[in-house]
């Protein structure tokens, strides 16, 4: 397990302050937009940056001041950083050679890892002849070769075609189950985070906003920022409900105040055509086809809501939006 205990790092005006832990099971994803501090956090775990305060603990050992080369933490870089003058086999064996392993053991281990990563027979290939996905797997094999205590991945799929990302993601999940070491994966893509993570740590301006499993963060976020970051979300204050008539709505609780925010996912709002007796003044002002269903932009005065439905409605059509009480989530 990796523990980041009140770790602080400052660069001029920017201050990163994090406190979280990474379990041995599953993949922990550090998610955030550019400048949120996720890469700095990962680089501190890797040993490339030294925290100003706090401590980093790996399997009960304080590694805050341990040099990179003595941490035995695998790191997969965004650009893979494969050594261009070495072959695939030599790249994978690099860490083993640095540790002084005999040639026979190196050859054996490289063969095992290339087999594990689906690159058997690639030993003598030059790095420049590999595809992006193959290079990514060589980088993984190289990082795994010295039997690291943890594996850190810095946006490793960013240079891979979107089609290949899903395959690589499944492959990584499979690998995690096999080797069972703490894995931290940095990304700014919410789709990648949702599909890979067992735990998402969402960062904003150097602080952890929220931590939890993807489904929990998506469906029942505690903060409006989390709700918006993980997908389209309708965020309404209690005072705004007056202008929009939503069936079955949870009425604002008394005493909470009109500033209380609520979140409803577009998928939780059902769209149906107005009957003659209903005149809520909700009009469709825009629509986008998402494949199998539509996303509608519905306006009432200055209020804009997003709702999704497999049915097709016309722009300008008056509609009613319905939602179940339990899908209206109070957020901060």
């Amino acid at each position: 397990m990796i523990e980041m205990k009140n770790v602080v790092k400052e660069y001029g005006d920017f201050r990163l302050q994090v406190d979280f832990s990474v379990p041995r099971e599953g993949i922990t994803v550090l998610l955030g937009s550019s400048g949120s501090g996720k890469t700095t956090t990962l680089r501190m775990i890797g040993g490339f940056e030294v925290p100003d305060r706090g401590s980093i603990v790996l399997d009960n050992q304080d590694i805050t001041r341990v040099p990179v080369q003595h941490r035995n933490i695998g790191f997969v870089f965004q650009d893979y950083a494969l050594f261009p003058h070495l072959t695939v086999g030599e790249n994978v064996a690099y860490g083993l050679k640095a540790r002084g392993l005999s040639r026979a053991r190196r050859v054996n281990k490289v063969a095992q890892l290339l087999e594990l990563t689906g690159l058997a027979g690639f030993d003598h290939r030059k790095i420049t002849t590999l595809s992006g996905g193959e290079q990514q797997r060589v980088a993984l094999a190289r990082a795994l070769a010295p039997d690291p205590r943890a594996l850190l991945l810095d946006e490793p799929f960013s240079a891979v075609d979107p089609e290949r990302r899903e395959d690589l993601g499944s492959y990584l999940l499979d690998l995690q189950r096999k080797i069972s070491i703490p894995m931290v994966f940095v990304t700014h893509s919410r789709q990648e985070a949702m599909s890979l993570a067992s735990t998402i740590i969402l960062l904003k301006n150097g602080r952890v906003v929220e931590t939890g499993p993807p489904s929990s963060l998506y469906e029942r976020p505690c903060r409006a920022f989390t709700a918006r970051f993980l997908g389209r979300a309708n965020i309404l204050t209690a005072g705004q409900w007056g202008g929009v008539r939503v069936e079955l709505i949870r009425e604002p609780e008394t005493g909470i105040g009109e500033d209380q925010l609520y979140m409803i996912r577009p998928d939780s709002l059902e769209v149906r055509q107005c009957t003659a007796s209903e005149s809520f003044g909700l009009n469709i002002t825009g629509r986008t086809y998402l494949g199998g269903r539509w996303e509608y932009q519905v306006e009432s005065g200055e209020q804009v809501l997003y709702a999704r439905s497999p049915e097709m409605f016309q722009i300008g059509q008056s509609v009613v939006l319905e939602c179940r009480n339990r899908e209206i989530i109070p957020v901060e």
Binding site: S34, T40, R43, G47, V50, P67, A81, Y94, A98
Partner: protein
Amino acid sequence: MGTPRSHADSTGPAGFPGKFSGPGLAVLLVVFLTLALPLGGILWAGWLDTRSFPAFLDRAQAVLTRGSTWRSTGFSFFQAGVSAALTLVLAIPGSYALARYTFKGKGFIQALGMASFVLPSLLIILAVMSFYGRAGVLNQILGTRFSFVYSPVGIILAHLMFNLAIGLRMLTQGWLDLDQRLVDASRSLGDSSLGRLRRLALPFLGRRMVSAFLLIFLYCFLSFSIVLIFGGVGFITLEVLIYREMYVSLSPAGAAVLVLLQLLVTGLVVALSQFWGRSVQRGARPVEVKPMGSLSFPSRILWGLYWTLVYLFLLAPLGALMFRSFWDDGALGFAAYRSLFLGTGGRGTGPGIFEVMRATTGQVFLDSLVLALSSGTASVLLGYLVARLLSRRDFSGSDTLFLLPLVVSGVTLSLGMGQVLSSFVSRWILIVLVQTVMAFPLVFRIFREGFRSFPPSYQEAAKSLGAGTWFRIRTLELPLLWPIGLQAFAFGAAISLGDFTGVYTLGRGEVVTVPIAMFRLIGFQHFPAALALGVCYIMVTLGVFLLIDSFDRRKKEGRI
């Protein structure tokens, strides 16, 4: 998130062995070698000469109130200013063509830009003499006997030959910095070609021109051998005066005062060139390059004339040098080469070739090659070390660091080093040290670019895999920077091969390299042998470059 590459590398656990910060150590090393040591040496010699501060001040007053000091200073400004201005005037059209058009011979002229760094000044002197001298090719063609070589004209001509390729190179970069988008915007606003040149290009190029002028001015201001030979005793620059003050007037204190005066000028010029150079735009979208063949016929004729003149100006003297080395009493032959290698051909009862050179030709080449090998290796080590230390942080002052050695002239560097170190090390080591510092700016720049193209993630990946510093150097840096190191070595060795100032000042007759031998042969009027030696020098340098190039190519092809 884009984080600054810094703390872990410099202060953290992953740093270079030792407690010093990398860039700090590098700056300290460069300042010590290029400024502190030579200047300290000269000032120390001055102090020893006078033994008291008031006496030193008296000497300073005497030197600074002497007419010759200010005549030399004035002449230094004059010849450097005229040389730099003429260089730019000649280079402006050529640089425009190099930036905007493709044409035959473009690659050759661009390659000349680098050759200027390694061509020995003595070779240029010989070439100018062969072509423009009293018995030169030009006089033979015109059937005249005039000569202006031993005058400021000769000095300026030689400086022009030496610096034209550099001027072309620098101004071409200036034209390339002009963003195509700005040109397009000017076009769309209806400006004519001439208007665009006047209102957009020239103001834009202005800063680059000032920067180029200052740098070439500096090279000419500190030029030694060209002024020593062509200026004689009548036209002396500060640089020559410093040498004379030290070795002819035997006044180290006077030399120290002149060094300080010279430093004032060079420091100011370097500071100004930094100021003007800093404003140059980076990252512009380059202007469109068109084939010259697409121009109108008159334009092509004009360009043809211009390039013919440039080629003639640069290559005719070198051609004359080669031709005259084979010319013997009205017929082609190898007499000059025979006398050079056999030591025969003394004039009447005068000393023979070997006596004049104070070494056999074989010994001259051997000494030159030993020095070149040592200086090339030392340059690579110093350049690599400094560039490596600086590579660990995005150090904005590396351009200034590159210019720092330019502040101190070759004579000051040699004299200063000599004063401090001559009691501890041999002349040979002293010369190697001086030549290493002379080659530093170029070699450092080669390594700096090498390290800049070396992704930091390679180092980080290696560290995360458990590789220590020496393992990383052995398995990553050396294999990846090998071609860069070879290139740096080639330039370091070539600068050593062509160095006259360092060997002349420190060798004091004991160390005879090719430029020194050429100088002595010229001095004793053994002109054909000097020319033959010049041609041999060109062949050796070319051979070294070709050897390194073929080695590099074979390495890249994986045959080594």
